[in-house]
Amino acid sequence: MKRKQGRIAALFLLPYMIIFIIFRLGPSIAGLFIGFMDWNLAGIPEFAGLDNFKRLFTDEYFMIALWNTFKFFLLTLPPLIILSLLLAILLNQKMRFKSVGRVVSIIPYVLIPAVVGIMWSWMYDNNFGILNYYLKKLGSQGVPWLTDENIAIISISIVVIWTYLGYNMVLFLAGLQGIPRDLYEAAEMDGATRIQIFFRITCPMLKPVASMVITLTLVNTVQLFDQIYTMTAGGPGTSTLTMVQYLYTTAFQNYDLGYGSAIEVAILVILILLIGIQNKILKNNDGD
């Protein structure tokens, strides 16, 4: 019986596995090897040993991109946890139109990110943008949203937060609805205040969701590209250059495929390390 099952399972699996191995697993493994090559699209690939990886550590642009990615993470994570939790709590209350609120807040997430970048650039425009118009009306000078080296990274972070807020809200909402009712009832019977209930029951019970949101934000930040590409393309200067933007420029505009692969490997290693560290920290906290 088991043998027969195996044959049938193989038939069911085969079409997917062929595509999966050729277009996903294979390239992922091959990338590790190309990183050891000196490979320009025009020339013949040559073995380069660790050269590409050594170059990473002395490459000023790569370090800037790494640092910018880290800044994006720090700028977007706190709002993405706090605001989406508050939004979930609001939309979990008994009230009319809450389902409208839920649907509307996910809309930014389903829009084409490259297009979102264009829509926001229009609002951020220094001269004709509607945001500066309102700010000037309030008596401010207006903000050079995308043209100032220090501000551009914040402006793009706002767009990222706007995009993912509703998505994270759904995660928190599912978490909130998974907390057993009797926990709240028991706490109320014991005379706990609403604030106590929030910090002693709701927050600890939502820890798995929060950890999920952190992982997703990590993955999304490391992948950040589309919106930035249409808003600033990494500028002004290198102030919003991310790792993927640098990878794209290196591999597909300068056609340095060997070094590009080294950047790919670095992105992967950083991602896995960060997720590993995050899981470890959260697990240690559980032990307390």
Binding site: A9, F23, A30, R102, M123, D226, V244, I272
Partner: protein, 276 residues
């Protein structure tokens, strides 16, 4: 007091909705203004003259309809293929016992962590070697190696009761018929979730189609539209009206699919999120 709290809730909810819809609404309003009015001061929410000239301009000056066609073909074909191949594979992983099952499932799920950015150079070399650059297949096939769908469908199939299957087997029903005529109809919720998640992912996909396609007529919508921006193409004579019109038209199909299937979308986020 209670009444006051109630109305505060409504006001906050309305404000939040405004924040989420603001950029889209403003883009829509500006896309129907004549180019000279767009940059006029002060900006107006109700245009003096409403015109579709920006829309006709986009269609005339760029191969916009080809982009739209390319996006539709690649996103729909990709989604259909994902549905077929993933449900077959996920069914085998969930319902059959065979050697290597755990390793295969583990390998697939481990790839959840590896984004396309981490393997797009080898993928590019592969596609150029087998002649998939500048083809629909070059965009579609990598998207069919989808991992999220396997993850969602496997956990759904695992939850289905086994009695139906057993009864059908005793009646002499073939394995493929059990899958197609008994199990699949029971899986509509999970299949809807996969449909909406993968359609939106395919429709919005940007980086890989940009690398894979260099010919203007073969580009997908996001890649074509990105050329409107000055940051991308410094030669472009940048006009906000036309690019906003292009943006609005590109966003409509996703909005329609999303509004029809939004219930499944929300469930999909919630279930894949919590289990992940």
């Amino acid at each position: 007091m209670k009444k006051l709290r109630g109305s505060v809730k409504y006001i906050v909810t309305i404000l939040i909705c405004i924040v989420f819809l603001f950029p889209i609404a403003w883009a829509l309003v500006c896309s129907v203004k004549p180019e000279t009015d767009i940059t006029s001061y002060p900006p107006k929410w109700i245009p003096d003259i409403a015109t579709l000239s920006n829309y006709t301009q986009v269609l005339e000056r760029y191969p916009y309809l080809s982009w739209m066609k390319n996006s539709l073909i690649t996103a729909v074909t990709g989604t259909v293929l994902i549905l077929i191949l993933s449900s077959l594979a996920a069914y085998a992983l969930a319902r059959y016992r065979f050697r290597g099952r755990k390793i295969i499932y583990g390998t697939i799920v481990a790839m959840l962590l590896i984004p396309i950015q981490a393997y797009m150079i080898p993928l590019y070399l592969l596609c150029s070697k087998i002649g998939l650059l500048n083809t629909y297949a070059g965009i579609i096939l990598p998207s069919v190696a989808n991992v999220t769908s396997i993850f969602i469908l496997t956990s759904f199939f695992k939850g289905l009761p086994g009695e139906l299957e057993e009864a059908a087997r005793i009646d002499g029903c073939g394995e493929f018929r059990i899958f197609a005529q008994i199990m699949l109809p029971l899986s509509k919720p999970a299949l809807s979730t996969v449909t909406i998640l993968t359609f939106i992912a395919n429709w919005n996909s940007f980086l890989w189609p940009m690398i894979c396609i260099r010919q203007d007529e073969l580009k997908t919508l996001p890649v074509g539209i990105a050329q409107f921006m000055g940051s991308v193409n410094s030669n472009a004579q940048f006009q906000y009206g036309t690019s906003l019109a292009g943006c609005c038209m590109a966003v409509i199909p996703t909005l329609i699919v999303f509004l029809i299937l939004q219930k499944h979308f929300v469930e999909g986020i919630a279930s894949s999120g919590i289990k992940g």
